[in-house]
Amino acid sequence: MTRTTDKVALNEWQAVGTVEEIISGKRRNTRLLGQDIIVEMDGEIPRMFENNANGGIGTEHPAQALYGHIWTTLGTPVKAPLDMPEFKEDGRRLVVCGALTVRASALRIVENFLDMAHFPYVHTGILGEEPITAVNDYKIEIREPEDEVWATECSFFQPQAAASADDGQVSQYMYRVSSPFVTVLYKTCPVVEGAWDLVGIFVQPKDEAECDVHTFMLVLDETSTMSDLVHFQQEIFLQDRSILENQIPPGLPLDPMDEIAIKADGSSMLYRRWLRNKGLTFGTHRGDGSSQAA
């Protein structure tokens, strides 16, 4: 596939690798929105270039380091990457899980991240389990002026809510979508009362139906080892991947008639409506067959 012409997708900041990986002198040859790119560090300065078909280095685009990742764009962003003040708080550990390749639309991946109803079936025994399957009512809203989708007052009973959790607990959640490809959740911290742990995904859409998912956690957990934390998150994501690579059609349908929704899908419906209003087409299912993801 060649670079998309979808301006909405092009004009976003996208995470395309971890600082740690690239700072060690490794260039990352990857792809963004159908465009082959090279990501590298010039001393402290992250840089991104188009990688031409003939192997030559092409146009340079803006790049910046943020939240342990290199962010870049092929367009002209109207909005900065999301603000997460928690990164400046003391006592938090940033866990960067590395990229996981998923053959699915970025939008399906984000939608799955917002979904609680699948916990008992996809993350059985960890994030949920029959017979406690009901999704309690929660609130959804578009926040202005940030232009973000939020779902708040979410809760779900979980047999093993986090790497550090021994017992089941009712976890409280808040979900936040700051760009079509970036989402973060805030979840009851099992260690410090009243505090939130952050888990987020920066989805790098390589093509309409293939992504690298960059996952991070920002937690107040001093006991679990780094590899415990990474393993926990990786196990969860591999379970999600087995779903994401098996949805038909691969592109996210934005037409409300294409798939059936219930009240528990409120965040998914608001996300879809928000995407529709933006006029995003990349990674969506288009009934006319023009979607690569069909």
């Binding site: 109803a117 699948h118 008992p120 399957t133 038909i248 349908p253 798939e259």
Partner: protein, 232 residues
């Protein structure tokens, strides 16, 4: 493909015994994905392989009694394809239009049959003259028409779309075979091979083995032939 494989015909898609109670099997017909499953009540079904909720392939679900459950959010669908239960909202009685599109299906001659259209109500099955037993199913990497053509060269007859009958000579004895061709896609087929059951019950297993061996050779020949034509 239309001439030999009309949409409205019945096509075998697998051995009925391969689809035990509680099992789910992905099926492809004319390039379209289906799912076949059998509930604890013994009934088999052929549906769209796509959940109406978030599009999950139903082949990865699980059978819960006489219902099929989707792997993604556990929605339960009854044998009538109607959604009976939505775990995320247990108090909701799923509306009538929460249902999976289905295809007509039936079992006959030890095979599961389905269609891409609206055939007559009764499954045609294999020719009535013999008491056919299922031997095995084999994937053939060749267009369905190529499979038909190959049989044409060996004096087989087609009485019903997709079904070829021939007499094999196995170790001096004439064995009637019937092969049901499943048009998987433009370039893939599946053959379901059955043989006329001659003689005692204990003769079935050796017969199966011989006919299966014949079918494997047949598959290899057809695939080689197709490859050769492709490279020419």
């Amino acid at each position: 493909m239309a001439e030999h494989f009309p949409r409205d015909a019945w096509y075998a898609v697998g051995g009925a015994a391969m689809l035990a109670e509680g099992e789910i099997m992905p099926v492809k017909l004319f390039g379209k994905e289906r799912v076949a499953w059998r509930g604890d009540d013994g009934e088999s079904h052929v549906w769209h392989n796509r959940c109406i909720h978030r599009g999950m392939r139903l082949q990865f679900g699980f059978v819960d009694g006489d219902r099929l459950a989707c792997r993604y959010h556990g929605w339960r669908f009854g044998g009538d394809a109607q959604c009976k239960k939505i775990p995320a909202q247990p108090t909701l009685a799923p509306p009538d239009d929460f249902r999976i599109p289905v295809f007509q299906s039936a079992e006959k001659n030890g095979l599961v049959w389905t269609t891409a259209g609206t055939p007559g109500a009764n499954v045609t099955g294999l020719p009535d003259s013999e008491n056919f037993v299922f031997c095995r199913s084999l994937a053939v990497h060749a267009p369905p028409d190529a499979v038909v053509e190959h049989f044409g060269n060996m004096d087989a007859s087609i009485t019903t779309p997709g079904i070829l009958s021939a007499i094999l000579n196995i170790e001096g004895a004439d064995v009637p075979v019937a092969v049901a061709i499943q048009p998987v896609s433009a370039d893939k087929s599946q053959i379901h091979v059955t043989a006329g059951q001659a003689g005692a019950e204990n003769a079935i297993q050796p017969l199966r083995l011989r006919v299966s061996a014949w079918a494997r050779r047949l598959r290899d020949t057809i695939e080689n032939q197709t490859e050769k034509e492709d490279s020419e």
